[in-house]
Structure formats: structure tokens, C-alpha cells
């Protein structure tokens, strides 16, 4: 194997083989999925996110939530995700068809978020949790996302958006903590995370 062409041919063929198998064939076979439309109601799944939630997804990416939180539910045979209540069914390729990129995640230092919008629908809860996770879960190791909030002097009437924070986390008297536009978008995104609809390839369990 002393000839450049022979060597390169070997490099080329071995890699081409894998490239076709793991990139090109998946691209052809499930790179063009269509949403599931109910002909009677006109409902389409997965749901297309609102503009605000889509911006929130960018905040999620900018904030590195993915380094502790996954967004995928494994089938019952592959772990206890479903029994834990992280989702009623496994997630499938179609669930992520609008996600560019999908935020599947590889770490569960924190819980899975595939259905966090369903499990925890309250915006108020999310804002308090993002600002001070330990005010809700004292032993939590989650990073507080303070930079997404603004502490400001109350001028006139308090803001309706102001966070209700318990003792050690509350701002000084006369001040209030309000979410920035980014925080509002992020919470809208978290609320949109809901894969509790049925797809033919991933039906919901029978009640």
C-alpha cells in the first residue's frame, strides 16, 4: 500500500459506504415526513409552534438547556421514561419534523422535557423556577437563569408580570423582578413542549 491512489481509493470507499448508509439513505427514507392531518377536524400533528415559542426555542439553544435536559421518551422496553410520567408514549421521528435542530439531548442531569408543557402548564411556575430553581426545589442543582430577568424599582403600579418570589429570593422592598422578552419566549417554548397527541406509528396507550 505504497501508492497514493490505492490508499485514497481505500479511504474513499470505506467512508463512502458509511456516508451513504448513515446520511444519504436516512435522508431519502425519512427526511421528507408529512404531518398527520385528521380529515374530520382538520387538526394537524405535530403542532406548528407559535412565533413566540419558536423564538423561545432559540433562547433554549442559547442558554444551553440541552446540556442537562433531554427531549425524547424511550419506549417502555428501553427504560422507565413512560412509567416515570415523562410522556404517555415513545417519541418518534415525526414529532421532530419541524425542529431544526432537534434538541434530543444526551444528558438527564435534570428531568426529560418532552412533555413539560403538559406536565407543568403554568407560566408563573416556569418563571419562578427559571429565576430561582431552589425556591421551588431546595436541593436542585439547576443553574438560576437570572440574566433573563430584570430587577427594577417599582414605578407607580407594580407590573402584572412581576414574579412572586418567597423570602430569600424576593427583591428588596420597592423593587420587582420582571421577565425579559427572552424569558417570556423561553417559557412559551417550554409550554409548547407537548407530545401527548397520538400518531399512527405511536398511538397513545389505551385508558
Amino acid at each position: 500500500m505504497n501508492r497514493l491512489t490505492t490508499l485514497f481509493l481505500g479511504f474513499f470507499v470505506t467512508f463512502l459506504f458509511a456516508w451513504l448508509g448513515l446520511v444519504i439513505i436516512p435522508l431519502i427514507s425519512f427526511g421528507q415526513l408529512e404531518p398527520q392531518v385528521n380529515p374530520d377536524t382538520g387538526e394537524s400533528y405535530p403542532v406548528v409552534r407559535s412565533g413566540l415559542a419558536e423564538r423561545g426555542k432559540q433562547v433554549y439553544q442559547a442558554s444551553g438547556c440541552i446540556y442537562c435536559h433531554s427531549q425524547q421518551v424511550r419506549p417502555a422496553s428501553g427504560g422507565s421514561d413512560i412509567e416515570r410520567g415523562w410522556g404517555p408514549r415513545r417519541t418518534v421521528a415525526r414529532d421532530y419534523m419541524y425542529d431544526k435542530p432537534p434538541l434530543l439531548g444526551t444528558s438527564r442531569t435534570g428531568p426529560d422535557l418532552s412533555n413539560i408543557g403538559h406536565r407543568q402548564p403554568s407560566a408563573k411556575w416556569h418563571h419562578q423556577h427559571l429565576y430561582a430553581p431552589q425556591s421551588i426545589s431546595p436541593d436542585s442543582i439547576m443553574a438560576p437563569y437570572r440574566y433573563l430577568y430584570e430587577t427594577r424599582r417599582i414605578q407607580g403600579a407594580p407590573s402584572p408580570d412581576a414574579l412572586e418570589l418567597p423570602a430569600p429570593y424576593a427583591p428588596a422592598p420597592g423593587y420587582e423582578v420582571v421577565p425579559t422578552e427572552e424569558a417570556k419566549a423561553l417559557v412559551a417554548y417550554l409550554q409548547s413542549l407537548d407530545h401527548t397527541y397520538a400518531l399512527p406509528e405511536a398511538p397513545l396507550p389505551k385508558e
Binding site: 481505500g10 470505506t14 446520511v23 421528507q32 442537562c68 427504560g79 421532530y96 436541593d139
Partner: protein
């Protein structure tokens, strides 16, 4: 004139031609090593102490750039694209010149490429810290940074191929196959992944596969070949005898080429992609046992009868530590691809332990060994202090062993608890992993000590404060041992 003198003179001329670019790559790599270590340590501390360094020091300003979610990807990218890639490129240029027995022509172009690469990495890290990271693991840099890196990479690989084309007639050594292959595969891999994820994004599930095909093969087809090429060069070089078997070398190389490239899908076991993709990668990952065991046997047989040299030669000790870790990391990786094992280890700190066993205990330790060999030949002076090398070796060896052991145990506990739905996630699982997260920070401090000793020592070499005369700096002097 003796033929030996001619050879020595030829080597000296080749080393002189590489001096500027290789030292530039090494110096910037050491900078990124320190930066990456700092990011890693800060992330680790934040994971068991979430209020650590939340504000800009001495102010009341909460800064996004200091948040775990940004420092953590800054760590990965600083060590992968800063330290590991840059030191690897430096080693690659030097090895190619030495093995092709040609002088590096127009070293200024390679220097320019090195500067460009560093500009790319620096802007990438700043982008991540400012919140412009993509959150696609291993590909967090925004696409304009990728473009800068690509141009720089093309310049360097063209130069390496040019050396190969103009090589002196004779045998092509096994290290050259690995280096040429890495230089050929990486742009294809990086290009494909960036086009399909960042430039013209495809649908979610396919992106997930491409992401992990890239993430795994950045290790398998970029760092690993450079690491193995170095092991194949330095082990025989230091002990002064040829590689045990040409046949095993070839078999190990081509089986790696065939199997490693199919890895990646097994990062998504249980994930939302068709089962055949996962199964293909699981099989490929198990098949990796073949090249790994073949390479391990080849290195072991080469070393046989010369193990006492590990007591003296820093290069040999670092490289052999790395080569042994390669075997361990790869076999562990194959085991983690088995579905029943993966069910426990997936999503846990066990995986983080595995990645450090690969990129640190294997790759980084070999790169340290390579630098101990190459730098004196470029600066014309010997390493100043065997004590500093000892501190470097033991702090890093104990540090990385501690990290892998602690994360593996913590990860297994986490994995078993996660699979028992009766155990609540909060607070039980969180509290069960905390002691191991603290243990990881302790190991990070040990690594930091080793890196500081090394960086200081390297700086002394760079500013011309190495030892002028005498033989290479060894851990111990062999003659003292004999007396």
C-alpha cells in the same frame, strides 16, 4: 562523512523547516488547553454549587456568559477545536515531514492557516459565551466560524498532501496512512454535518443522526487516527526497534476505517429514529473490538522486553498510558453500545466519564508525550526540569483516573435509579449524584495542577530557557538505577 551524519543533518533540516508553524500550533494549543481546563472546572463547580460565579465578580450583574449552559459548551469546544485539534495538527505536520523525509515548503502558509484557525476558535468560543451557540453537541460554533475553520483546514491538509506527494522513495509507514486518512475524512465529515445541520437544515430526526454520526466520528476518524499514528511513531522510536507486525498494522487500520465510520446511531438508542440505523451502529461499535484489540496487541508486542524504559522516558510513559487508555476506552465504548448496558448508562454521567477516558486519557496523554519528544527538537534545548514533568504526569494520571472512576460509579448509580420509576427524580436521584459531582471537581483541580506545570515548562522552552546541553530530560537517570 558517515551516512549516519547525513541522516542526522537531514532530520535537523526538516525540523528547522517545521519550527515556526509547529511551535505556533503547540503554543496556541497550550493556551486553549488552559482555557478549556478553566471552563471545565467552572462548569464542574457550578454543577454542585449552582450559585457559584453567577454574577460578574465585584458587581451585581448577572451575566449569561457565566451561566452553566454556556460555559459547558465553551469547555467542549475549547478542548476539542482549540486544544485537541490544534495540537493534533501540529503533531501531524511534524510527523508528515519526518516520515516523508521532506522539508516543509512555504511554512508561512501553514502559519497563516494556524492563525486563521485560532481566530475561528476564538470567535466561536466568544459566540457561544454570548449566546450564539447552536446547542448541537460538538457543533456549537455558528456557521461563519465553521467556514473560517474549513478554509484553514484546507490550507493545512493541502500542505500535508503536498509533503506526501513529494516524499522520498521508500516504504509508507503505518502512521502516514492514519494521518492521510484523517486529513481526508474530517473535511467530508465536518462538511456534510455542517451543510445538513447549519446551512440547509434537514428534518429533525435526520439531523439527530447526522449530529451523532459527526460527534462520534470527530473522535473516531479525526482524533483517534492522529493519536494512533503518534503511538505507532513514538513507541518504536523511543525504544529503538521496529513495529511488531506490518500485517497487524494494516489489518488494524482497514478494519478501523470500515467500522468506525458506521458509528454514531447508537447514541440515539431508544430515540426517535428507525431501529435499523441504531442497529447498524451498534453492530459497527461492537466490531470496533477487532481494530482495537489488533492495535493493542501490535503495540504490546512492540514494547515487550522494553517496559523498564517507562521508568525513564517521559514520551514513552505518556504515549503508553494513552495507548492503554485507547484500548480501555474503546472496549468500554463497545460495551456501552449494547442495548441492555445502554439502557442504564444512557443520559448519565457514565457517558461523560467515557468521553474523558477517550479524549483525555487516550488522546491528550499521547499528545503530551508527542510534545515532550518534538519540542526539544524545534527549540534546540532540552526540557528544563524532570520534577515538572513528574508533576505533570502524576497530576494528570491520577486526575483522569479519579475523574473516570468517580463519574462511572456516580453514573451507574444514577442509571440504576433512573430505571426504577418508584424512585423520584427529585430529590433522590439529584442528591445521590452530588457526591460524585464534587469528586469530579476534585479531579478537575488535579488536572489543572498538571496543566499549569506543563504550560509553565513549555513557556520556559519557548523563551529559550531550556537546558542547553546533555541528553534528553528523563524521569530518572538509568545509570543511577544500575549503581
Amino acid at each position: 562523512m558517515m551516512p549516519g551524519d547525513n541522516d542526522a543533518q537531514e532530520r535537523a533540516e526538516i525540523d528547522a523547516s517545521c519550527r515556526g508553524p509547529v511551535l505556533l500550533f503547540f503554543a496556541s494549543a497550550v493556551f486553549w488547553l488552559l482555557a478549556g481546563t478553566l471552563f471545565g472546572l467552572v462548569s464542574s463547580l457550578k454543577l454542585h454549587n449552582p450559585y457559584f460565579l453567577l454574577k460578574l465578580p465585584f458587581t451585581d450583574i448577572y451575566l449569561g456568559a457565566l451561566n452553566f449552559g454556556r460555559v459547558r459548551p465553551a469547555h467542549l469546544n475549547a478542548v476539542a477545536y482549540g486544544w485537541a485539534s490544534v495540537v493534533g495538527l501540529g503533531v501531524c505536520i511534524w510527523l508528515m515531514a519526518r516520515l516523508c523525509r521532506v522539508r516543509l515548503r512555504y511554512p508561512g502558509v501553514v502559519c497563516a492557516a494556524g492563525v486563521l484557525w485560532n481566530v475561528g476558535v476564538l470567535s466561536g468560543i466568544i459566540s457561544i459565551l454570548l449566546g450564539h451557540g447552536t446547542s448541537v453537541e460538538w457543533m456549537e460554533f455558528p456557521s461563519y466560524v465553521t467556514f473560517i475553520l474549513f478554509v484553514s483546514y484546507a490550507m493545512i491538509s493541502v500542505w500535508a498532501v503536498d509533503m506526501f506527494v513529494h516524499r522520498k522513495p521508500g516504504h509508507v509507514y503505518v502512521s502516514q496512512w492514519y494521518l492521510m486518512a484523517a486529513l481526508f475524512w474530517f473535511p467530508w465529515l465536518y462538511g456534510t454535518a455542517n451543510i445538513l445541520i447549519n446551512i440547509t437544515p434537514v428534518q429533525g430526526a435526520v439531523e439527530g443522526i447526522v449530529n451523532w454520526w459527526f460527534g462520534h466520528n470527530a473522535l473516531g476518524l479525526w482524533f483517534t487516527p492522529i493519536g494512533i499514528a503518534s503511538a505507532y511513531y513514538f513507541i518504536p522510536k523511543v525504544i529503538g526497534r521496529p513495529v511488531h507486525s506490518y500485517y497487524l498494522s494494516a489489518f488494524g487500520f482497514w478494519s478501523l476505517a470500515l467500522f468506525y465510520s458506521w458509528n454514531g446511531g447508537h447514541h440515539l438508542i431508544g430515540g426517535p429514529i428507525p431501529a435499523w440505523v441504531i442497529t447498524a451502529s451498534v453492530v459497527a461499535s461492537i466490531m470496533m473490538i477487532i481494530p482495537v484489540v489488533v492495535t493493542a496487541i501490535n503495540h504490546h508486542m512492540t514494547l515487550r522486553g522494553h517496559f523498564e524504559m517507562l521508568k525513564y522516558s517521559p514520551t514513552l510513559r505518556f504515549v503508553v498510558f494513552g495507548a492503554m487508555s485507547y484500548t480501555l476506552a474503546s472496549l468500554q465504548g463497545s460495551s456501552m453500545a449494547i442495548r441492555s448496558v445502554n439502557k442504564i448508562t444512557h443520559f448519565t454521567h457514565y457517558t461523560i466519564g467515557h468521553s474523558h477516558l477517550g479524549l483525555y486519557a487516550f488522546y491528550t496523554m499521547i499528545m503530551f508525550g508527542a510534545m515532550y519528544y518534538i519540542v526539544p527538537r524545534l527549540t534546540g534545548s532540552e526540557w528544563r526540569s524532570s520534577v515538572l514533568i513528574k508533576i505533570h504526569f502524576w497530576a494528570c494520571a491520577y486526575g483522569i483516573i479519579t475523574m473516570v472512576v468517580v463519574l462511572s460509579i456516580g453514573g451507574l448509580i444514577q442509571g440504576f435509579m433512573l430505571n426504577d420509576p418508584k424512585i423520584p427524580f427529585y430529590p433522590n436521584i439529584i442528591n445521590a449524584t452530588k457526591p460524585y459531582l464534587i469528586g469530579r471537581s476534585v479531579s478537575g483541580i488535579m488536572l489543572t495542577v498538571g496543566h499549569l506545570a506543563f504550560a509553565y515548562h513549555f513557556l520556559l522552552m519557548l523563551v529559550g530557557m531550556g537546558r542547553d546541553s546533555g541528553g534528553p530530560t528523563l524521569f530518572n537517570q538509568p545509570q543511577e538505577e544500575n549503581s
